[in-house]
């Protein structure tokens, strides 16, 4: 990834993304003012309304000027402006190192992750990065610094796809360690036990996080476009291989993959998790724009 930086910041992609707002469905804790409104009321930034004093309210929040004018006790209410803390989780297992059309899932995932990071940081929100396989490979804690993007990109550049996918386990682990709520963006091929994955995602949701899942697959994984008798060797599990005639099983295979993605989609929908299936042949900007447009 010597020229990774240039790739991640494709001008065309960035030009389109710069006009979009990433709005979290749920306001997370934060202090940044602006477009992200917190439902938690604070006093730090912007006045919103008065309300009458009631016993128990802090005296420091009493508006003494209003007492002078109206001879009644009012309490000042402020609308908090919060920072979005986004956790970008990128799958770096060996199965991501597959390409049937020139771009591996991992390369595509890196571009997507970098683009999102750029977007989030440009909005002055905090973005963090986690790459993982069956363990956490690298962790860049979320920060809102403008120059923080370079640090994230270096972490991405240093990553190499290897190891076995354990998405469910890793999600569980990360969710357990998160102190504050935020946005969790998962970029993975999800080639793991779907129930484990969903369990991990649900844990994020239970902790009040907003979750976006980019399910990234190669077009060949969807269509199995091979001919002749083929010995398929698994990219992750050594010794796991199977001989098959793709023409004979293609129909069934498509159905199996469709069921798998459909199951994830419906379960995510039920848990208010955004799920988006992407292939490495989908233009990156198109994928982001269509997703973010849909997300509103």
């Amino acid at each position: 990834m010597a020229d990774g930086q240039q790739n991640y910041f494709d001008p065309l992609v960035l030009a389109r993304l710069s006009n979009l707002y990433l709005r979290a469905r749920w306001v997370v804790e934060g202090v940044i003012s602006g477009i992200h409104r917190s439902r938690a009321r604070g006093f730090s930034v912007e006045f919103e309304e008065h309300r009458e004093y009631s016993p128990g309210d802090e005296l420091r929040r009493v508006d003494w000027k209003a007492l002078g004018k109206f001879d009644r006790y009012f309490i000042k209410e402020y609308e908090d402006e919060t920072n979005l803390r986004a956790y970008l989780l990128l799958d770096s297992s060996a199965s991501m190192d597959y390409a049937s059309n020139g771009i591996t899932k991992f390369a595509y995932g890196c571009t997507l992750t970098a683009s999102l990071a750029y977007l989030i940081l440009k909005q002055q929100d905090a973005a963090g990065l986690v790459t993982f396989s069956n363990r956490v490979e690298s962790f860049v804690p979320p920060k809102a610094k403008r120059g923080y993007l370079m640090e994230m990109l270096r972490a991405l550049e240093a990553s190499r796809p290897s190891g076995e996918t354990k998405v469910g386990k890793i999600l569980y682990e990360i969710a357990g360690q998160m102190k504050r709520r935020g946005l969790v963006v998962l970029v993975s091929d999800l080639l793991d036990d779907p129930e484990e994955i969903l369990r991990g995602l649900r844990l994020f949701r239970l902790k009040g996080n907003d979750v976006i899942v980019f399910h990234l697959l190669d077009p060949a994984e969807l269509d199995l476009p091979f001919d002749g008798n083929i010995l398929f060797e698994d990219l992750e599990q050594a010794g796991l291989e199977v001989t098959a005639d793709p023409r004979a099983i293609r129909g069934i295979y498509r159905k199996v993959v469709e069921e798998f993605t459909q199951h994830l989609r419906s379960e995510c929908h039920g848990d208010s998790i955004d799920y988006q299936l992407l292939t490495t042949s989908t233009p990156l900007d198109h994928a982001l724009v269509s997703y973010l447009s849909w997300r509103g």
Partner: protein, 705 residues
Amino acid sequence: MSLFFLHPAYLYALFAASLPLLIHLLNRRRLKRVRFPAVRFILLSQRRISRSHRLRHWIVLALRTFAVCLLVLLLSRPVFQTGAGLFAGGGPLSVVVLLDNSLSMKWSKEDEEGFVRAKEATRRLFSSLREGDRGAVIPTTHAGSGPWRLKADREVLIRDLEGIKIAGGTADFSLALKQAYALLREPAGQKEIWLITDMGLTGWDGFSLSQLEQYDPLIPLKILKVGEPSRLPNATLKEIKFESQGVGVGMPIHLQAQLVNFSDQEIKDLLVVLNLEGKNQEQKLVNLPAEAELAVSFQLSLNRPGAYSGHLELRKAGLAGNPTAYFTLEAQDKLRALIVDGDPGISLVQSETFFLARALNPAGEKDSSLFLPTVVIPEALNTIDFDPYQALIFCNVPVISDRLLPKLRDYLARGGGILFFVGDRVQMEDYNRKLFLSSPSILPARMSGKKESAGAAGETIDKLDAGHPALQGIKEPILQQSLRSTRVQGYLLTEPDGSSALLSLSNGAPLLLEKKVGSGRVLFFATAADRDWSDLPLKTVYLPLVQSLASYLAGGRRGTADAGLPVGNSKTISFPPSFVGRSLRVVRPDQTETEVSLKAEGGKAIAVITENDLTGIYGLFLPDAAGGGVPTPQLYAVNSPFLESRLKRIDDNGLRTKLSPIRAEIIPLKSLDEGGKSWDLSFSLLLLLMVTLAAEGWLAQRSNE
């Protein structure tokens, strides 16, 4: 019904039917390796592939194989035919008809001779031939007597057919089929072999496909079955045995006929007739048990020397099986032997020649033996004419008179035979001087001394020239064993003049020597003819030994009784070497004649008569130098193998098994009357091929969905 092909060579391409399977297997072997992340989905997919999907896959493979087969069959131009009618359509036909003319074809049906029906069927087959077709007919009993050729002219074929007669022998189906395949090696549009037979088991017993050397299983073999299994009384003469030793004038000849009943029912009142020289001699009425054999004995007496022909005949209405067995006899006049007793005893038993005379004529009656011995004393020799005697036997004669010596020389010069037995009275000096040292010498050895041992001890007879014609009468091991057990206590020591010993003692001393003098021959026995010097006269071997020696001296002729040889076998006859180059005229049973030239072989003139294809009596005549015919005493009989009379048939499946992998279609003769139809299956196959390909395409597409 039959299926055959106009271009059967294409059928070899049926091997291509394995191509789809081979491609399938090759594809399985030629695996492409792909590293893939979603192997778990492939595993899941394979588990979910339904049984019907797998079945579809195999059906597609089967359809592809079937399609290749259909294509090959289409190219081979299959024709389906019902009935026995000849093929009608597609290319010139070459057909070889193998006509079973074995003897069993005679009794295929009660009311009609099977062979007649077989010939009629062959005639109809040839009549069905069209322009450009060719045919040949080969009789199964003479398949080796070719050369056979395919002929296009139907009239010539019919003439060939008419020339085939029923034979007395067994069909040689191996040779006949071999000839047929050899004929059909020439290219032709279509080829067929028809075998018209009664399916007699005997002919097929010896059949083996390996004898064919080469055959083409693609040529259809149609077997037209003649006749139906019948329950006719089925019996024949299995063999004729003669129990007499030699055949002489006035001697009783015991003849035993072995009858065999092949049927599962007893044959009652079967008449067995003995015929000699065209006249019935004797007949017997017998009941022949079911599936059993029975011996019937006859006795004959011949009143003149020379050749006789005869036969035994079974007579019974409706009897199936060869009823006749031929035989020949060659009767010798009695062999007259003059025995000179040099030591006549007071009683007959004590005389020197008692045992010898009894050995030559055991019963002592005039007509009971082939030999007629006359015993005289030495003094009578001067007045006796030796000409009537074929052998002179001297037993312990002390001296040879001066008058006798020239008579003996003259007798030997005219082909006579003399046997000398010695004894204690023999004066060796006299014998040596007159018979050995004087010229021409008569004795094969000079006597050099006498050896006698007391008691039972003595020498045994150790060496025996079993191949010598003088000892042919003691060929049997039991007789030779008896000879070896003989104890010789007294004998004369001899110094042979180079002659080899026919018999020797255990110490190496010669016991029996031979010398040829002119046309005659002399045998010298170095011991006595009676019990004085040995126990030989008490041994079993004595009688056959003495008779064998006497026969040899008389020229080796003892008369013969011959039950003949099986039809088809060759007969070898020998003559003196001076006959080499001359021709032997053979008169066959049907009175046709052939000539066989005599060739030198083993110091003799040999004639080999191979054309013994008819049963009956064959006569041999040797024309003399002037060109006239001088009948020789040579007759011989030719008989059918008794198993050829067995009407048992081979069953259809058994025959098919024997012929496998040749595809044989067995058709009843009546199918020929019913005719038949034939269909070219090409169009049907083409349609089927198209349907198959369409089905394969549809299924293959579904499998890939």
